[in-house]
Amino acid sequence: MADPQLQDLRQALRAVVDPETGHDLIAMGMIYDLRLDRDRALVTMTTTTPGCPLAGFLRMGVETALRAVPGIREVAVTLTWDPPWSPDRMESPRPRP
Protein backbone atom coordinates (compact mmCIF):
# COMPACT_ATOMS: atom_id res chain seq x y z
CA MET A 1 0.00 0.00 0.00
CA ALA A 2 1.50 3.34 -1.06
CA ASP A 3 2.36 5.97 1.49
CA PRO A 4 -0.82 8.06 2.08
CA GLN A 5 1.18 11.28 2.01
CA LEU A 6 2.67 10.30 -1.34
CA GLN A 7 -0.91 9.80 -2.49
CA ASP A 8 -1.68 13.34 -1.35
CA LEU A 9 1.26 14.62 -3.34
CA ARG A 10 0.09 12.79 -6.44
CA GLN A 11 -3.37 14.18 -5.89
CA ALA A 12 -1.92 17.70 -5.69
CA LEU A 13 -0.07 17.15 -8.97
CA ARG A 14 -3.33 16.10 -10.60
CA ALA A 15 -4.44 19.70 -10.13
CA VAL A 16 -1.53 21.05 -12.16
CA VAL A 17 -2.76 21.06 -15.73
CA ASP A 18 -0.91 21.37 -19.03
CA PRO A 19 -2.82 24.28 -20.58
CA GLU A 20 -2.31 23.03 -24.14
CA THR A 21 -4.04 19.68 -23.69
CA GLY A 22 -6.08 20.13 -20.53
CA HIS A 23 -4.45 16.96 -19.09
CA ASP A 24 -2.73 17.06 -15.70
CA LEU A 25 1.03 16.57 -15.52
CA ILE A 26 0.78 12.96 -14.32
CA ALA A 27 -1.60 12.07 -17.16
CA MET A 28 0.79 13.78 -19.56
CA GLY A 29 3.63 11.58 -18.28
CA MET A 30 5.67 14.64 -17.41
CA ILE A 31 6.37 13.60 -13.80
CA TYR A 32 9.35 11.23 -14.01
CA ASP A 33 9.81 10.70 -10.29
CA LEU A 34 8.09 11.70 -7.05
CA ARG A 35 9.59 10.90 -3.65
CA LEU A 36 9.11 11.86 -0.07
CA ASP A 37 12.01 12.43 2.31
CA ARG A 38 10.28 13.15 5.63
CA ASP A 39 8.81 16.66 5.08
CA ARG A 40 10.59 17.16 1.73
CA ALA A 41 8.97 16.40 -1.59
CA LEU A 42 11.42 15.56 -4.38
CA VAL A 43 10.14 15.75 -7.95
CA THR A 44 11.83 15.08 -11.26
CA MET A 45 9.78 16.38 -14.14
CA THR A 46 10.00 17.31 -17.80
CA THR A 47 8.16 19.39 -20.40
CA THR A 48 7.12 18.40 -23.91
CA THR A 49 10.19 20.08 -25.39
CA PRO A 50 13.35 21.55 -23.80
CA GLY A 51 12.71 25.06 -25.16
CA CYS A 52 9.09 25.12 -23.91
CA PRO A 53 8.28 28.68 -22.77
CA LEU A 54 6.07 27.18 -20.06
CA ALA A 55 8.86 25.17 -18.43
CA GLY A 56 9.62 27.68 -15.67
CA PHE A 57 5.95 28.27 -14.94
CA LEU A 58 5.14 24.55 -14.73
CA ARG A 59 8.04 24.03 -12.37
CA MET A 60 6.80 26.88 -10.18
CA GLY A 61 3.26 25.51 -10.35
CA VAL A 62 4.44 22.09 -9.17
CA GLU A 63 6.35 23.68 -6.30
CA THR A 64 3.35 25.76 -5.24
CA ALA A 65 0.90 22.85 -5.48
CA LEU A 66 3.10 20.49 -3.45
CA ARG A 67 3.95 23.04 -0.81
CA ALA A 68 0.23 23.37 -0.09
CA VAL A 69 0.05 19.68 0.92
CA PRO A 70 -0.19 19.41 4.74
CA GLY A 71 3.07 18.27 6.31
CA ILE A 72 5.29 19.35 3.41
CA ARG A 73 7.87 21.98 4.31
CA GLU A 74 10.20 21.85 1.38
CA VAL A 75 9.87 21.01 -2.29
CA ALA A 76 12.79 20.35 -4.66
CA VAL A 77 11.90 20.20 -8.35
CA THR A 78 14.42 19.02 -10.93
CA LEU A 79 13.64 19.71 -14.58
CA THR A 80 15.18 17.22 -16.99
CA TRP A 81 14.86 16.38 -20.68
CA ASP A 82 16.83 13.19 -20.44
CA PRO A 83 15.07 11.03 -21.42
CA PRO A 84 13.07 13.37 -23.63
CA TRP A 85 9.30 13.44 -23.32
CA SER A 86 7.34 11.70 -26.03
CA PRO A 87 3.57 11.24 -26.47
CA ASP A 88 4.04 7.55 -25.65
CA ARG A 89 4.43 8.61 -22.02
CA MET A 90 0.85 9.88 -21.84
CA GLU A 91 -1.56 7.91 -19.67
CA SER A 92 -4.03 5.69 -21.57
CA PRO A 93 -3.45 7.17 -25.01
CA ARG A 94 -6.74 7.53 -26.79
CA PRO A 95 -7.19 5.30 -29.82
CA ARG A 96 -6.76 6.87 -33.22
CA PRO A 97 -9.94 7.43 -35.19
Partner: protein
Protein backbone atom coordinates in the same frame (compact mmCIF):
# COMPACT_ATOMS: atom_id res chain seq x y z
CA UNK B 1 12.93 33.83 -14.34
CA UNK B 2 9.94 32.07 -15.93
CA UNK B 3 8.80 33.67 -19.17
CA UNK B 4 12.25 34.93 -20.11
CA UNK B 5 12.07 32.96 -23.36
CA UNK B 6 9.13 35.09 -24.51
CA UNK B 7 10.15 37.74 -26.99
CA UNK B 8 8.51 41.00 -25.88
CA UNK B 9 7.71 42.14 -29.43
CA UNK B 10 6.17 39.01 -30.98
CA UNK B 11 2.68 40.45 -30.87
CA UNK B 12 4.03 43.71 -32.27
CA UNK B 13 5.29 41.80 -35.33
CA UNK B 14 1.97 39.96 -35.64
CA UNK B 15 -0.10 43.14 -35.25
CA UNK B 16 1.96 45.04 -37.80
CA UNK B 17 1.73 42.11 -40.22
CA UNK B 18 -2.06 41.89 -39.93
CA UNK B 19 -2.38 45.63 -40.59
CA UNK B 20 -0.23 45.22 -43.74
CA UNK B 21 -2.42 42.29 -44.83
CA UNK B 22 -5.59 44.36 -44.54
CA UNK B 23 -3.91 47.30 -46.28
CA UNK B 24 -2.73 45.13 -49.18
CA UNK B 25 -6.20 43.64 -49.70
CA UNK B 26 -7.93 47.04 -49.58
CA UNK B 27 -5.41 48.54 -52.00
CA UNK B 28 -5.75 45.60 -54.41
CA UNK B 29 -9.51 46.13 -54.43
CA UNK B 30 -9.36 49.93 -54.72
CA UNK B 31 -6.77 49.79 -57.54
CA UNK B 32 -9.03 47.31 -59.35
CA UNK B 33 -6.27 44.71 -59.79
CA UNK B 34 -7.07 41.55 -61.66
CA UNK B 35 -5.63 38.81 -63.85
CA UNK B 36 -2.84 40.02 -66.13
CA UNK B 37 -2.41 43.29 -64.21
CA UNK B 38 0.74 42.35 -62.27
CA UNK B 39 3.23 44.63 -64.02
CA UNK B 40 1.30 47.76 -62.95
CA UNK B 41 3.10 49.86 -60.31
CA UNK B 42 0.07 49.53 -58.02
CA UNK B 43 0.30 45.74 -58.32
CA UNK B 44 3.97 45.79 -57.36
CA UNK B 45 3.08 47.91 -54.32
CA UNK B 46 0.27 45.55 -53.31
CA UNK B 47 2.42 42.45 -53.85
CA UNK B 48 5.11 43.82 -51.52
CA UNK B 49 2.70 45.05 -48.85
CA UNK B 50 1.50 41.45 -48.89
CA UNK B 51 4.79 39.57 -49.17
CA UNK B 52 7.02 41.79 -47.06
CA UNK B 53 4.54 43.55 -44.77
CA UNK B 54 2.34 40.54 -44.06
CA UNK B 55 4.19 37.29 -44.77
CA UNK B 56 7.82 38.26 -44.15
CA UNK B 57 7.04 40.24 -41.00
CA UNK B 58 4.95 37.48 -39.49
CA UNK B 59 7.66 34.94 -40.37
CA UNK B 60 10.48 37.04 -38.91
CA UNK B 61 8.47 37.69 -35.73
CA UNK B 62 7.66 33.99 -35.47
CA UNK B 63 11.33 33.07 -35.91
CA UNK B 64 12.41 35.48 -33.18
CA UNK B 65 9.85 33.88 -30.86
CA UNK B 66 10.32 30.33 -32.03
CA UNK B 67 14.07 29.83 -32.52
CA UNK B 68 14.62 29.58 -28.74
CA UNK B 69 11.95 26.83 -28.62
CA UNK B 70 13.53 25.05 -31.58
CA UNK B 71 17.08 25.26 -30.22
CA UNK B 72 16.38 25.32 -26.46
CA UNK B 73 18.78 28.25 -26.31
CA UNK B 74 17.75 31.83 -25.52
CA UNK B 75 18.42 34.63 -28.01
CA UNK B 76 21.59 36.49 -27.05
CA UNK B 77 20.32 39.94 -28.13
CA UNK B 78 16.53 40.00 -27.75
CA UNK B 79 16.47 43.82 -27.61
CA UNK B 80 17.16 44.01 -31.35
CA UNK B 81 13.60 42.81 -32.06
CA UNK B 82 12.06 46.28 -31.89
CA UNK B 83 14.50 48.04 -34.26
CA UNK B 84 14.18 45.06 -36.64
CA UNK B 85 10.39 45.35 -36.56
CA UNK B 86 10.53 49.11 -37.20
CA UNK B 87 13.06 48.73 -40.03
CA UNK B 88 11.10 46.04 -41.89
CA UNK B 89 7.86 48.00 -41.48
CA UNK B 90 9.40 51.28 -42.67
CA UNK B 91 11.29 49.54 -45.49
CA UNK B 92 8.10 47.88 -46.74
CA UNK B 93 6.25 51.20 -46.77
CA UNK B 94 9.14 52.90 -48.56
CA UNK B 95 9.39 50.15 -51.20
CA UNK B 96 5.65 50.16 -51.84
CA UNK B 97 5.54 53.96 -52.05
CA UNK B 98 8.52 53.74 -54.39
CA UNK B 99 6.66 51.32 -56.66
CA UNK B 100 3.73 53.75 -56.80
CA UNK B 101 6.29 56.43 -57.71
CA UNK B 102 7.29 54.44 -60.81
CA UNK B 103 4.22 56.07 -62.34
CA UNK B 104 6.19 59.34 -62.37
CA UNK B 105 6.04 60.82 -58.84
CA UNK B 106 9.66 61.95 -58.50
CA UNK B 107 9.35 62.45 -54.73
CA UNK B 108 8.90 58.71 -54.29
CA UNK B 109 12.13 57.85 -56.12
CA UNK B 110 14.21 58.58 -53.02
CA UNK B 111 12.07 56.25 -50.95
CA UNK B 112 12.45 53.56 -53.63
CA UNK B 113 16.24 53.82 -53.53
CA UNK B 114 16.57 53.71 -49.73
CA UNK B 115 13.97 50.96 -49.20
CA UNK B 116 16.39 48.04 -49.84
CA UNK B 117 18.85 49.54 -47.34
CA UNK B 118 16.23 49.90 -44.62
CA UNK B 119 14.86 46.42 -45.30
CA UNK B 120 18.39 45.02 -45.33
CA UNK B 121 19.01 46.50 -41.87
CA UNK B 122 15.83 44.84 -40.57
CA UNK B 123 16.76 41.45 -42.06
CA UNK B 124 20.33 41.72 -40.76
CA UNK B 125 19.14 42.53 -37.23
CA UNK B 126 16.94 39.43 -37.20
CA UNK B 127 19.83 37.33 -38.51
CA UNK B 128 22.13 38.71 -35.78
CA UNK B 129 19.51 37.76 -33.21
CA UNK B 130 18.77 34.20 -34.29
CA UNK B 131 21.97 32.96 -35.96
CA UNK B 132 23.99 32.37 -32.77
CA UNK B 133 21.27 30.06 -31.42
CA UNK B 134 20.75 28.25 -34.74
CA UNK B 135 24.42 27.77 -35.54
CA UNK B 136 25.28 26.06 -32.25
CA UNK B 137 26.98 22.74 -32.85
CA UNK B 138 24.49 20.91 -30.63
CA UNK B 139 21.58 21.97 -32.87
CA UNK B 140 22.99 21.59 -36.35
CA UNK B 141 21.89 17.96 -36.66
CA UNK B 142 18.21 19.04 -36.38
CA UNK B 143 16.58 19.23 -39.83
CA UNK B 144 14.25 21.99 -38.57
CA UNK B 145 17.27 24.11 -37.63
CA UNK B 146 18.96 23.43 -40.97
CA UNK B 147 15.79 24.45 -42.83
CA UNK B 148 15.71 27.80 -41.03
CA UNK B 149 19.41 28.33 -41.82
CA UNK B 150 18.74 27.60 -45.52
CA UNK B 151 15.78 30.01 -45.33
CA UNK B 152 18.15 32.73 -44.12
CA UNK B 153 20.37 32.09 -47.16
CA UNK B 154 17.18 32.41 -49.22
CA UNK B 155 16.45 35.74 -47.55
CA UNK B 156 19.92 36.96 -48.58
CA UNK B 157 19.22 35.88 -52.18
CA UNK B 158 15.83 37.58 -52.08
CA UNK B 159 17.36 40.83 -50.88
CA UNK B 160 20.14 40.71 -53.48
CA UNK B 161 17.75 40.10 -56.40
CA UNK B 162 15.23 42.67 -55.11
CA UNK B 163 17.91 45.26 -54.45
CA UNK B 164 19.47 44.75 -57.89
CA UNK B 165 16.06 45.23 -59.54
CA UNK B 166 15.40 48.37 -57.49
CA UNK B 167 18.73 49.84 -58.65
CA UNK B 168 17.90 48.97 -62.26
CA UNK B 169 14.37 50.40 -62.13
CA UNK B 170 15.62 53.45 -60.20
CA UNK B 171 18.00 54.32 -63.05
CA UNK B 172 21.29 53.54 -61.26
CA UNK B 173 24.45 52.76 -63.20
CA UNK B 174 24.26 49.11 -62.12
CA UNK B 175 21.64 47.37 -64.22
CA UNK B 176 20.52 43.76 -64.32
CA UNK B 177 18.34 41.87 -66.76
CA UNK B 178 14.92 42.08 -65.09
CA UNK B 179 13.57 39.18 -67.12
CA UNK B 180 16.26 36.94 -65.63
CA UNK B 181 16.18 38.40 -62.15
CA UNK B 182 12.42 38.44 -61.49
CA UNK B 183 11.74 34.66 -61.64
CA UNK B 184 14.76 34.06 -59.41
CA UNK B 185 13.54 36.75 -57.02
CA UNK B 186 10.18 35.00 -56.71
CA UNK B 187 11.83 31.60 -56.19
CA UNK B 188 14.04 33.01 -53.44
CA UNK B 189 11.16 34.86 -51.73
CA UNK B 190 8.36 32.33 -51.97
CA UNK B 191 10.43 29.14 -52.02
CA UNK B 192 13.76 29.42 -50.28
CA UNK B 193 12.89 32.04 -47.68
CA UNK B 194 9.20 31.75 -46.77
CA UNK B 195 8.44 28.11 -47.61
CA UNK B 196 11.65 26.57 -46.27
CA UNK B 197 11.27 28.53 -43.03
CA UNK B 198 7.62 27.39 -42.84
CA UNK B 199 8.70 23.76 -43.39
CA UNK B 200 11.23 23.97 -40.56
CA UNK B 201 8.92 25.68 -38.09
CA UNK B 202 5.91 23.52 -38.97
CA UNK B 203 7.74 20.27 -38.20
CA UNK B 204 8.06 21.34 -34.58
CA UNK B 205 4.73 23.20 -34.30
CA UNK B 206 2.67 20.41 -35.88
CA UNK B 207 4.28 17.79 -33.64
CA UNK B 208 3.48 19.94 -30.61
CA UNK B 209 -0.12 20.71 -31.57
CA UNK B 210 -0.91 17.16 -32.72
CA UNK B 211 1.01 15.49 -29.87
CA UNK B 212 2.89 13.40 -32.38
CA UNK B 213 6.34 11.82 -31.86
CA UNK B 214 9.06 14.10 -33.21
CA UNK B 215 11.32 11.37 -34.56
CA UNK B 216 12.72 12.35 -37.95
CA UNK B 217 12.44 9.62 -40.58
CA UNK B 218 14.25 9.32 -43.91
CA UNK B 219 11.76 11.71 -45.54
CA UNK B 220 12.84 14.54 -43.28
CA UNK B 221 16.53 13.98 -43.99
CA UNK B 222 15.72 14.07 -47.71
CA UNK B 223 13.64 17.23 -47.28
CA UNK B 224 16.66 18.88 -45.62
CA UNK B 225 19.03 17.65 -48.36
CA UNK B 226 16.77 18.68 -51.24
CA UNK B 227 16.18 22.10 -49.70
CA UNK B 228 19.96 22.58 -49.65
CA UNK B 229 20.17 21.44 -53.31
CA UNK B 230 17.43 23.92 -54.31
CA UNK B 231 19.14 26.77 -52.45
CA UNK B 232 22.51 25.98 -54.08
CA UNK B 233 20.89 25.88 -57.54
CA UNK B 234 19.16 29.23 -56.89
CA UNK B 235 22.41 30.83 -55.74
CA UNK B 236 24.21 29.38 -58.78
CA UNK B 237 21.51 30.78 -61.08
CA UNK B 238 21.85 34.15 -59.33
CA UNK B 239 25.63 34.19 -59.85
CA UNK B 240 25.17 33.25 -63.52
CA UNK B 241 22.47 35.90 -64.03
CA UNK B 242 24.55 38.60 -62.33
CA UNK B 243 27.49 37.76 -64.61
CA UNK B 244 25.18 38.47 -67.55
CA UNK B 245 24.97 34.84 -68.79
CA UNK B 246 21.73 32.91 -69.37
CA UNK B 247 20.48 31.36 -66.11
CA UNK B 248 17.16 29.88 -67.25
CA UNK B 249 18.40 26.26 -67.65
CA UNK B 250 19.51 26.13 -64.00
CA UNK B 251 16.21 27.68 -62.94
CA UNK B 252 14.21 25.16 -64.94
CA UNK B 253 16.29 22.28 -63.60
CA UNK B 254 15.26 23.40 -60.14
CA UNK B 255 11.66 22.29 -60.68
CA UNK B 256 12.57 18.65 -60.19
CA UNK B 257 14.18 18.78 -56.73
CA UNK B 258 11.57 21.38 -55.68
CA UNK B 259 8.71 19.03 -56.61
CA UNK B 260 10.37 16.07 -54.88
CA UNK B 261 10.99 18.23 -51.82
CA UNK B 262 7.32 19.29 -51.54
CA UNK B 263 6.13 15.71 -52.11
CA UNK B 264 8.39 14.35 -49.38
CA UNK B 265 7.48 17.14 -46.96
CA UNK B 266 3.77 16.44 -47.46
CA UNK B 267 4.37 12.71 -46.98
CA UNK B 268 6.33 13.40 -43.80
CA UNK B 269 3.50 15.57 -42.43
CA UNK B 270 1.02 12.82 -43.31
CA UNK B 271 3.11 10.42 -41.20
CA UNK B 272 3.11 12.89 -38.30
CA UNK B 273 -0.66 13.24 -38.64
CA UNK B 274 -1.25 9.50 -38.54
CA UNK B 275 0.84 9.10 -35.40
CA UNK B 276 -0.86 11.90 -33.51
CA UNK B 277 -2.24 11.43 -30.01
CA UNK B 278 -4.80 14.17 -30.37
CA UNK B 279 -7.73 12.76 -32.32
CA UNK B 280 -9.93 15.89 -32.27
CA UNK B 281 -8.40 18.61 -34.42
CA UNK B 282 -8.48 22.25 -33.38
CA UNK B 283 -9.16 24.88 -36.08
CA UNK B 284 -5.46 25.74 -36.44
CA UNK B 285 -4.62 22.20 -37.48
CA UNK B 286 -7.84 21.49 -39.36
CA UNK B 287 -7.30 24.53 -41.62
CA UNK B 288 -3.59 23.93 -41.97
CA UNK B 289 -4.65 20.95 -44.09
CA UNK B 290 -6.09 23.37 -46.64
CA UNK B 291 -2.75 25.20 -46.65
CA UNK B 292 -1.02 21.89 -47.38
CA UNK B 293 -3.38 21.25 -50.30
CA UNK B 294 -2.47 24.67 -51.74
CA UNK B 295 1.22 23.84 -51.26
CA UNK B 296 0.67 20.70 -53.35
CA UNK B 297 -1.22 22.70 -55.97
CA UNK B 298 1.41 25.44 -56.28
CA UNK B 299 4.20 22.84 -56.46
CA UNK B 300 2.32 20.99 -59.21
CA UNK B 301 1.88 24.27 -61.14
CA UNK B 302 5.56 25.25 -60.71
CA UNK B 303 7.00 23.44 -63.78
CA UNK B 304 4.20 24.82 -65.99
CA UNK B 305 4.59 28.27 -64.45
CA UNK B 306 8.35 28.21 -65.11
CA UNK B 307 7.85 26.98 -68.67
CA UNK B 308 4.84 29.00 -69.80
CA UNK B 309 4.70 32.00 -67.43
CA UNK B 310 1.48 34.01 -67.88
CA UNK B 311 -1.68 32.69 -66.24
CA UNK B 312 0.01 29.56 -64.92
CA UNK B 313 2.62 31.66 -63.14
CA UNK B 314 0.00 34.04 -61.73
CA UNK B 315 -2.05 31.11 -60.39
CA UNK B 316 1.01 29.32 -58.98
CA UNK B 317 2.24 32.45 -57.17
CA UNK B 318 -1.25 33.20 -55.82
CA UNK B 319 -1.73 29.60 -54.65
CA UNK B 320 1.63 29.73 -52.87
CA UNK B 321 1.37 33.18 -51.27
CA UNK B 322 -2.32 33.31 -50.42
CA UNK B 323 -3.23 29.61 -50.28
CA UNK B 324 -0.22 27.89 -48.76
CA UNK B 325 1.71 30.51 -46.76
CA UNK B 326 -1.16 32.76 -45.66
CA UNK B 327 -3.67 30.02 -44.76
CA UNK B 328 -1.00 28.31 -42.68
CA UNK B 329 -0.02 31.58 -41.02
CA UNK B 330 -3.56 32.75 -40.29
CA UNK B 331 -4.57 29.42 -38.74
CA UNK B 332 -1.49 29.24 -36.55
CA UNK B 333 -1.63 32.94 -35.67
CA UNK B 334 -4.88 32.45 -33.77
CA UNK B 335 -3.41 29.55 -31.81
CA UNK B 336 -0.06 31.18 -31.07
CA UNK B 337 -1.67 34.44 -29.99
CA UNK B 338 -3.93 32.45 -27.64
CA UNK B 339 -0.93 30.60 -26.24
CA UNK B 340 1.15 33.75 -25.68
CA UNK B 341 -1.81 35.51 -24.09
CA UNK B 342 -2.45 32.52 -21.85
CA UNK B 343 1.18 32.45 -20.70
CA UNK B 344 1.15 36.14 -19.99
CA UNK B 345 -2.07 36.15 -18.00
CA UNK B 346 -2.53 32.69 -16.51
CA UNK B 347 0.83 30.91 -16.41
CA UNK B 348 1.89 32.56 -13.12
CA UNK B 349 -1.27 31.09 -11.54
CA UNK B 350 -0.47 27.44 -12.37
CA UNK B 351 -0.73 25.34 -9.22
CA UNK B 352 -2.34 28.20 -7.29
CA UNK B 353 -5.86 28.07 -8.64
CA UNK B 354 -7.90 26.55 -11.43
CA UNK B 355 -7.04 28.25 -14.71
CA UNK B 356 -8.75 28.01 -18.10
CA UNK B 357 -7.08 25.98 -20.86
CA UNK B 358 -5.66 27.76 -23.90
CA UNK B 359 -8.55 26.72 -26.17
CA UNK B 360 -11.04 28.56 -23.96
CA UNK B 361 -9.69 31.98 -24.78
CA UNK B 362 -10.44 31.72 -28.50
CA UNK B 363 -13.72 30.91 -30.26
CA UNK B 364 -13.40 27.95 -32.56
CA UNK B 365 -16.58 28.73 -34.50
CA UNK B 366 -15.49 32.27 -35.39
CA UNK B 367 -12.00 31.06 -36.30
CA UNK B 368 -13.31 28.17 -38.43
CA UNK B 369 -15.79 30.36 -40.29
CA UNK B 370 -13.18 33.00 -41.07
CA UNK B 371 -10.65 30.38 -42.21
CA UNK B 372 -13.31 28.68 -44.34
CA UNK B 373 -14.09 31.99 -46.05
CA UNK B 374 -10.36 32.64 -46.56
CA UNK B 375 -9.83 29.19 -48.09
CA UNK B 376 -12.87 29.38 -50.38
CA UNK B 377 -11.88 32.88 -51.55
CA UNK B 378 -8.35 31.66 -52.25
CA UNK B 379 -9.71 28.80 -54.35
CA UNK B 380 -11.83 31.28 -56.27
CA UNK B 381 -8.80 33.56 -56.69
CA UNK B 382 -6.65 30.76 -58.17
CA UNK B 383 -9.44 29.75 -60.56
CA UNK B 384 -10.08 33.36 -61.64
CA UNK B 385 -6.39 33.82 -62.46
CA UNK B 386 -6.27 30.54 -64.40
CA UNK B 387 -9.36 31.46 -66.44
CA UNK B 388 -8.70 35.20 -66.58
CA UNK B 389 -11.94 36.33 -64.90
CA UNK B 390 -11.63 39.87 -63.52
CA UNK B 391 -14.98 39.91 -61.74
CA UNK B 392 -14.34 36.57 -60.03
CA UNK B 393 -10.96 37.86 -58.86
CA UNK B 394 -12.60 40.92 -57.32
CA UNK B 395 -15.10 38.70 -55.56
CA UNK B 396 -12.21 36.63 -54.21
CA UNK B 397 -10.48 39.81 -52.96
CA UNK B 398 -13.64 40.87 -51.14
CA UNK B 399 -13.90 37.45 -49.49
CA UNK B 400 -10.24 37.52 -48.47
CA UNK B 401 -10.66 40.96 -46.91
CA UNK B 402 -13.75 39.94 -44.93
CA UNK B 403 -12.01 36.80 -43.70
CA UNK B 404 -8.85 38.70 -42.71
CA UNK B 405 -10.91 41.34 -40.90
CA UNK B 406 -12.78 38.63 -38.97
CA UNK B 407 -9.48 37.03 -37.96
CA UNK B 408 -8.06 40.42 -36.92
CA UNK B 409 -11.12 40.96 -34.72
CA UNK B 410 -10.73 37.48 -33.24
CA UNK B 411 -7.10 38.24 -32.40
CA UNK B 412 -8.22 41.37 -30.51
CA UNK B 413 -10.90 39.30 -28.73
CA UNK B 414 -8.22 36.81 -27.66
CA UNK B 415 -5.93 39.54 -26.35
CA UNK B 416 -8.84 41.13 -24.45
CA UNK B 417 -10.09 37.73 -23.16
CA UNK B 418 -13.58 38.52 -24.48
CA UNK B 419 -14.41 34.82 -24.77
CA UNK B 420 -13.92 34.17 -21.04
CA UNK B 421 -16.65 34.81 -18.46
CA UNK B 422 -16.02 38.19 -16.80
CA UNK B 423 -15.34 36.49 -13.44
CA UNK B 424 -12.37 34.59 -14.96
CA UNK B 425 -10.68 37.67 -16.40
CA UNK B 426 -7.99 39.36 -14.33
CA UNK B 427 -8.82 42.88 -13.15
CA UNK B 428 -6.29 44.51 -15.46
CA UNK B 429 -5.03 43.12 -18.73
CA UNK B 430 -1.55 43.42 -20.22
CA UNK B 431 -1.12 45.86 -23.14
CA UNK B 432 -2.37 44.47 -26.42
CA UNK B 433 0.97 44.18 -28.22
CA UNK B 434 3.49 43.52 -25.46
CA UNK B 435 3.59 39.91 -24.30
CA UNK B 436 5.93 40.37 -21.36
CA UNK B 437 4.63 38.79 -18.19
CA UNK B 438 3.18 41.44 -15.90
CA UNK B 439 2.89 40.17 -12.33
CA UNK B 440 0.39 42.92 -11.57
CA UNK B 441 -1.95 41.80 -14.30
CA UNK B 442 -2.35 38.41 -12.68
CA UNK B 443 -3.38 39.57 -9.23
CA UNK B 444 -5.91 37.12 -7.85
CA UNK B 445 -9.42 38.31 -8.64
Amino acid sequence: MPGKSLSPWTLGWFGSAVIFLLLALVLAFVCDLGPGDWARPQALAVVHLFTLGWLAQVMLGALVQFVPVLTAYPLPRPALALPALLATGAGTLALSAGFLGLDGHTGMQVLFRIAPLVLGCGFALVAVMILPSLARKANLHLIEVRMVLIALAGLAGLWTTGGAMVLTLGGASLTVDLAQMLPLHMLFGIGAFLSFAAFGVSYKLFAMFLLAPETAGWQRRWVGGLAAVCAVLMLAALAVALSGAFAAPIRLALSLPALALCGLYLDDIRRLWRNRRRPALEPNMAWSRVALVFLGLSAALLPLAQWQGGRMAEAAVFAALVGWLSTLTLSQLIRITSFLTWIQVFAPLIGRRKVPVVQQISDRVTASRALALWSASTGLGVASLLFGSHIAFRLALAGLFLAAAAIARELVAIRKLWHLPVADRPPCLPPIIRPSVHPLSVAEP
